[in-house]
C-alpha cells in the first residue's frame, strides 16, 4: 500500500510539474487528457458501477461547455466558469435521466443517444448560440482576482478542479451509495426485492455523472477558448465510452489511461497516416472482443474477464 501511495504521489507531482519541463504542445496534450479523463471517469461511474450505458453523456458535456461559453464573456468569474455549468448540467441530467431511466436496458441507450443529438440539432440551427460555428473567443476566468490565462496558472487551476472531481468520484464509490450502485449493477431485480427504490439511486448517479461531465465540458471551453455543436455529437459520447473501455470499466482510474491512449493515439497516428479512424475502430473492436477488462484489467492479470 505504501508503494502504491508513493507511486501515485510521484505521478501527481509529475503532472503538476509538467509545464516546467515540457513545451506548450505536450502540455496541451496533457491538459486535454485530464479534461477528457474526468469526463470519461464520470461515465465510468455510470457504466462501471451503476451498470447504466449512456450514449448521451455528451449532452451534459455540451451543456456545461455552452453555459460556460455564454457566461464567461460577460462575467469571467468562478460562478460562470464552474457553478453555472455544473448546475445547468445537473438540471439537464435530472430531466433527461428522469425520462430515460424509467425505461430500462436498450431503450435507455437509445433515448440518451437521441437526447444528445437533439441538443446537437438545437445548437446547430440556433443563431444565438453561433449555429454551426458555435461560440468563439471565450476568455479564461478570473480566479480570486487573477486572470489565469497564462499556461502555468491555468495548469494549476485545471489540476485543482479535475483533482477535486476525481476525489469526489472516488469517495462516492467507496461510500454506502457506491455500494448500492454496485448492487444494482450486479442484480437490479434483487435490489428491488429487498427494498431499494432502484430508480431513485440510478437517477442520483445519473445526475452526479452528468454534473461532473458538465464541469469537464466547461473546462474544455476554457481550455480551447471556443465551443461548437460537435460537443453534443453522439460520437463524442462514443469516444468517451471507448476511453472507459480501453482503460477498464469500473476502475475509475482507468479513465485516465483510456483518455491518454485515445488522445495520444489520435495525435500520433494521424501524423503518420490518414487512416486514423480505421485504426481507432479496429482498436475498439479488438478491445471489446479480447480485452474487455481494459488496460487496468490487463495490468491486474485479468485479460478477457470483465472486472
Amino acid at each position: 500500500m505504501r508503494a502504491r501511495s508513493i507511486g501515485l504521489g510521484l505521478v501527481v507531482a509529475a503532472v503538476v510539474a509538467f509545464p516546467l519541463v515540457a513545451g506548450p504542445y505536450p502540455v496541451k496534450l496533457l491538459q486535454e487528457i485530464l479534461i477528457w479523463g474526468i469526463f470519461a471517469m464520470s461515465l465510468d461511474l455510470l457504466m462501471g458501477y451503476a451498470g447504466m450505458v449512456s450514449f448521451g453523456h455528451s449532452a451534459f458535456f455540451g451543456i456545461g461547455a455552452y453555459t460556460a461559453a455564454l457566461l464567461l464573456s460577460k462575467w469571467p468569474g468562478l460562478l460562470a466558469a464552474l457553478g453555472a455549468p455544473a448546475l445547468a448540467a445537473a438540471v439537464g441530467a435530472l430531466v433527461i435521466g428522469f425520462l430515460s431511466i424509467r425505461v430500462g436496458g436498450v431503450y435507455f441507450i437509445m433515448l440518451t443517444l437521441a437526447f444528445s443529438q437533439m441538443f446537437f440539432a438545437l445548437t446547430f440551427q440556433n443563431a444565438f448560440l453561433g449555429a454551426e460555428d458555435g461560440i468563439t473567443s471565450v476568455p479564461r476566468p478570473h480566479v480570486f482576482g487573477l486572470r489565469i490565462a497564462a499556461l502555468g496558472a491555468f495548469h494549476v487551476y485545471l489540476l485543482a478542479i479535475v483533482g477535486a472531481a476525481a476525489l469526489f468520484l472516488h469517495s462516492i464509490v467507496r461510500a454506502p451509495f457506491g455500494h448500492v450502485l454496485r448492487g444494482i449493477h450486479d442484480n437490479e431485480e434483487r435490489m428491488q426485492a429487498v427494498g431499494y427504490p432502484v430508480a431513485r439511486y440510478k437517477l442520483l448517479a445519473f445526475v452526479i455523472a452528468g454534473t461532473v461531465a458538465g464541469v469537464a465540458g466547461s473546462l474544455y471551453t476554457q481550455f480551447v477558448g471556443s465551443i461548437s455543436p460537435d460537443a453534443f455529437l453522439w460520437t463524442t459520447s462514443g469516444e468517451a465510452l471507448l476511453m472507459v473501455i480501453i482503460g477498464g470499466t469500473g476502475t475509475l482510474n482507468g479513465a485516465w489511461l483510456g483518455a491518454a491512449a485515445f488522445i495520444l493515439l489520435q495525435s500520433l497516428v494521424s501524423s503518420y497516416t490518414e487512416r486514423w479512424m480505421l485504426i481507432l475502430g479496429l482498436t475498439f473492436v479488438l478491445f471489446v472482443l479480447f480485452a474487455p477488462g481494459g488496460i487496468v484489467g490487463a495490468l491486474r492479470g485479468r485479460v478477457g474477464v470483465r472486472s
Binding site: 436498450v106 431503450y107 446537437f120 487512416r275 475502430g281 475498439f284
Partner: protein
Amino acid sequence: MLVVSDVFAQALNGLAYGVLLFLLSVGLTLIFGMLDIVNLAHGSYYMLGAYAGVTVLMMTDSFWLALVVAPVAVGLVGAVVERLCLRPLYRRGPLDQVLLTFGLIYLFEDLVKWIWGGRVRSIPAPALLTTSVNVLGATVPSYRVFVIVFGLAVAVALWLLVEKTRLGAVIRAAVFDSEMAAGMGIPIDRVFTGVFAFGAGLAGLSGVIAGPIQSAAPSIGATILIPALIVVVVGGLGSLKGSLVGSLIIGQAETFGKAWLPGASMLMIYAVMALVLTLRPQGLFGRPLK
C-alpha cells in the same frame, strides 16, 4: 400560400423518405427484437449499399443490376460481421455488443474513404426514371414514385413472408423469445445470422435506392442512423408494424419540417419522439414495459 399540389408534392417526398427509413429500420428492429442489441453499425450497411451501387454502376452501367447486387453484397458483409464479431459476444450481454457495433462504424466509414475516396459519388437514376410525372396536380420526379411503389411492394412482401410462411413463423418465434425458440429445437444460431444478413441487405437496398436522391458519401451512414433509431423507438423495438408506421410518421415529420420550419427542422423528429414516448414509453406497437 398553401397550394394543395405543393402539400401533396411534399407529402410524396415524405413518403419516399419514409420508405427509405422503413427498409433501414426493419433490420434494426428485428435485430433488436431477437438479440436485444442495438446495432449501431446499421447505418454503415446503408452506406455500403450505396457504395456497392456506385461500383456496380461503374462496372456495368446498369442501375437495375446494382439494385440486385448491392443488397446481396451487403447482406454477405452482415453475415460475416455477425459470425465473426457478434457471435462471440452473445454470452457477454448487450453492452459489449453495442460498443462493438460502435467501433464498426468508425471502421466501415474509414474503409469506405480508403477504397472509394472521401468525396461524394453520385448514383444517377436509371434512364427510365429520369422524367417527372404529374400526380394529382403535383409535379414529382418519377424516381420518387418508383421509390414509393418499390418500398411498399417490399413492405407487402415482408408482411407475407413474416405472417404467412413457416420461415416467418420461425423468425417471429425467435424475435419474441429466443430462449424458448431454441428450446423448441429451432436452430437459433442460423436464424440469427440469417436475420442479421437479411436486415443488413435491406439496409443496403435502402442505400442504393437512395443513391439517385442523396448520392454516396462516407458520412451518410451515421447521418441516417439517428432517424432510423428514432423510427424504431417510436414504432416500438421488435415490431415490424411499428417500423412501417414509425417510418411513415418520421418521414413526413422531417420532410415537412424542412419545408416549413427550416430554422427548427432538425428538431421535428425529436419532438415527435418526445411526444410518443411521453404517452407510450414502449413505442406505438412495442411490447409493454414491465
